[in-house]
Symmetry: C2
Subunit: 231 residues, 2 copies
Amino acid sequence: MNEDARCGAGQPDAECPERPLRRDAERNRQRILAAAAEVFTERGLDVSLDEVARHAGVGVGTVYRRFADKEELVETLFTGYVDDLAAVAERALDMPDPTEALLWFLEHWMEAVAGNIGLRQLLMFATYAGDRLSYARDRFAPLVNALVTRAQANGRIRADLAGTDIPFIAMMLSSAAEYAHQVRPEIWRRYLTLLIDGMFASRDGTATLPVAPLAITEMESVMRGRAPRRQ
Amino acid sequence: MNEDARCGAGQPDAECPERPLRRDAERNRQRILAAAAEVFTERGLDVSLDEVARHAGVGVGTVYRRFADKEELVETLFTGYVDDLAAVAERALDMPDPTEALLWFLEHWMEAVAGNIGLRQLLMFATYAGDRLSYARDRFAPLVNALVTRAQANGRIRADLAGTDIPFIAMMLSSAAEYAHQVRPEIWRRYLTLLIDGMFASRDGTATLPVAPLAITEMESVMRGRAPRRQ
DNA sequence: ATGAAGCGGAGAACATGTCTCCACTAATTT
DNA sequence: AAATTAGTGGAGACATGTTCTCCGCTTCAT
């Protein structure tokens, strides 16, 4: 994406004479990005850069020479995803059936976020996001409001559903998805379906729950898996 | 190491000649318990014992003289709650309407756990619980299964709901409740209602969502509030 | 008033993470 | 082949945070 940590990252710096990396350095940079993507996706943004370095097969020093700090690495990796999701919201607004549009958007949001713990933390928690990204998230609010209002006017979605219910539901589901990720990565779809069945104004019968429920032993594993920390 | 910690806490130990604490010591013990209850309830079990001590207005040394380690303190505080909730499940099985019984139990579970972050961590995550407590949690499985099966036989609850869906829903909701706790402690009721509307086999109209939705600014606060860590 | 019980809290021991420094290594140039 | 210099690894300085101990001093009970 950019050939040097500082150069090409954003600011067109006058002091930056477009010097290309040496071949081995560029290869290491790619390794670092690949390792970081894997490890942040799988285990979240709290993984240390020492671990990223080990995963990439390079020393920590190499990581810090290429990326000023963790935030720069994270932004390099994930900024694209945020834009992608905004585009999905805009495409949903062009769909003919407003109810389908809302549900389609919610499902895509969840698909993006459920399999990618780092992205979830970036989208859902301002702690990890710079102002740039929290601004990007603000962009969603009017789009989501429009999606909800239209789906309600359409008549199938309950009138008391609010715009903020959608991100809240996504947060709730993705939190659960994170807990269950090691055990059954797709289980969130079951509860999304349940919630959607709750979002209709009324209904006759049910949608089919799309994923088999957890076995009791699986539920145990989910609970044993991890514990949340605070701050 | 210290016989006081064990004596008087619960077990009638043969090595324990029933020596009562000095009056000031007993008063401090109560202060510690009160402070720990407050702070674990409000902020979860990860709060350090230094902080519990400060909250109680005593030195850390005093805490460690009274309780061998954190686990002992936590168990002293929370074991009762676990038994209480098991009793609620059993009472639900005696209720006349099976559907009401299931929903009543789920709501009580949530009420216990949503306002009490420490209890949630204890019930939901084996990390914090000794074998004793994870055994206690196992007791719930058959009770919950019975509640679900009966409510389905009754006809109002969808047939594809499984026993493990109930604890999973509780985990999911309480996780969301924890995120929103500082901002709107009761917001989980809104999403519980939504989920319950999804749990019926079919329905005409909707229940009224019991809590006003979050304003966009409140949603921001929830996201800014905290970020989860892993492992 | 005296001895035992109890106290506070500095700090040892440990864990975990970020980021720097510099003696080395190796790609590129000559 | 030698010289040049970008690039490297990883020990370790530094920061933060937690658990738990130690011991000089205080307070209670008799």
